[in-house]
């Protein structure tokens, strides 16, 4: 009985985990999102040069707030956050988490549970392993195209190549280096997996497509940008 309670407590102990949240123009949601991460003592939120009060909102929370002078891109915010987290010696696991409330903290807990088994270096969230997300139709098509293209190019076989929810260990974090801080960073991360031969795995996650995220989230046109970025960068 005591072992069961102990192991349950251990499972809920996330003092070895850092959640990195890149934030751009999320003054409306960011405090709510960070406050929702109750069981996680280490939250590093990087304000990517937001013109609104995002940084002030971050500073009201328990999170460590880092701030870029100007907007350099989500990839850049992730790299800054991860580099900072690496200086904290107690951190073994790193989570990339979106600032707009689309990600689910339960998914994060499941992914950490899994990565603690030591069988892989990085776990990628996937919207397409389970039919739970309500993805807007056009976005789904653009996404599927990007997935096919990215899989062909990287040689990895993923069901979701552009998911912001990832969990990885220190070994991977130390190799996290991007040349492109823009929207192509997602496929650059996959490149790192491929080139350094990291063990990877996908797990189903639920993305909440609320009115808020729909309104400010990536439109179809931005999907075109992503595809274009993928093509141009490949040269």
């Amino acid at each position: 009985m005591l072992e069961l309670v102990d192991s349950m407590r251990l499972r809920m102990d996330f003092s070895d985990t850092a959640i990195i949240i890149p934030a751009y123009k999320e003054a409306g949601m960011i405090k709510k999102v960070i406050d929702g991460l109750k069981e996680f003592p280490h939250v590093i939120c990087v304000n990517d040069g937001s013109p609104d009060k995002t940084l002030e909102e971050i500073q009201k929370t328990k999170a460590i707030g880092l701030s870029h002078l100007t907007n350099i891109g989500q990839g850049g915010a992730l790299e800054t956050g991860i580099k900072y987290a690496l200086t904290l010696s107690q951190i073994k696991y790193f989570v990339t988490f979106d600032a707009d409330g689309q990600h689910n903290i339960e998914d994060v807990k499941n992914m950490i549970q899994e990565i603690r088994r030591g069988k892989c270096d990085i776990i990628l969230g996937s919207r397409f392993l389970k039919k739970t997300s309500n993805i807007p139709f056009i976005k789904k098509i653009v996404l599927k195209l990007a997935i096919i293209f990215t899989n062909t190019y990287t040689g990895l076989k993923l069901t979701d190549t552009h998911n912001g929810l990832r969990v990885f260990n220190r070994k991977f974090a130390e190799k996290f280096k991007l040349t492109d801080f823009g929207m192509a960073h997602a496929s650059e991360i996959l490149d790192i997996i491929k080139n350094e031969n990291f063990r990877y795995q996908e797990m189903p996650v639920t993305i909440a497509y609320t009115d808020y995220s729909r309104a400010k989230g990536q439109s179809v046109l931005n999907g075109v940008n992503i595809l274009f970025d993928l093509l141009i960068r490949r040269k």
């Binding site: 990087v46 040069g49 460590i64 707030g65 880092l66 701030s67 870029h68 002078l69 100007t70 350099i72 891109g73 850049g76 790299e79 800054t80 580099k83 900072y84 200086t87 040349t179 801080f181 040269k235």
Partner: protein
């Protein structure tokens, strides 16, 4: 017509140049050499305008003006790509600097808090 071969070769060269060599010291040197050659060519053509017509006919182009136009076209592509690359490189340097600054500030903050 020899001009066709030359133009195609130049375009292919531009493609490989920008994907591989553009940042080398050799590239820098050659750019300066070509710059000097262009100045020399320009001055010569101004003094002897009929020369460009001779050159054009030799290469299979109708008029000297047409040849100048082709040269202008190629130069334009070259210049545009050069600037595009340069801007990207500068952008990367800037981004890396911004990231580093935020890390330094972050470390200062946490250093203060610990005290």
């Amino acid at each position: 017509m020899p001009i066709k071969i030359i133009l195609i070769a130049v375009l292919i060269f531009i493609f490989f140049y920008f994907t591989k060599f553009s940042q080398s010291t050799a590239a820098k040197a050659w750019k300066r050499i070509i710059f000097l050659l262009i100045i020399a060519f320009g001055i010569t053509t101004i003094i002897y305008p009929s020369l460009i017509n001779l050159l054009a006919n030799f290469l299979g182009v109708g008029r000297g003006t047409d040849l100048l136009l082709y040269l202008l076209f190629v130069s334009f592509i070259f210049m545009t790509l050069t600037f595009y690359l340069k801007i990207n490189i500068l952008n990367d340097k800037l981004n890396k600097t911004i990231s580093k600054i935020s890390l330094i500030e972050g470390n200062k903050e946490s250093g203060k808090k610990k005290k």
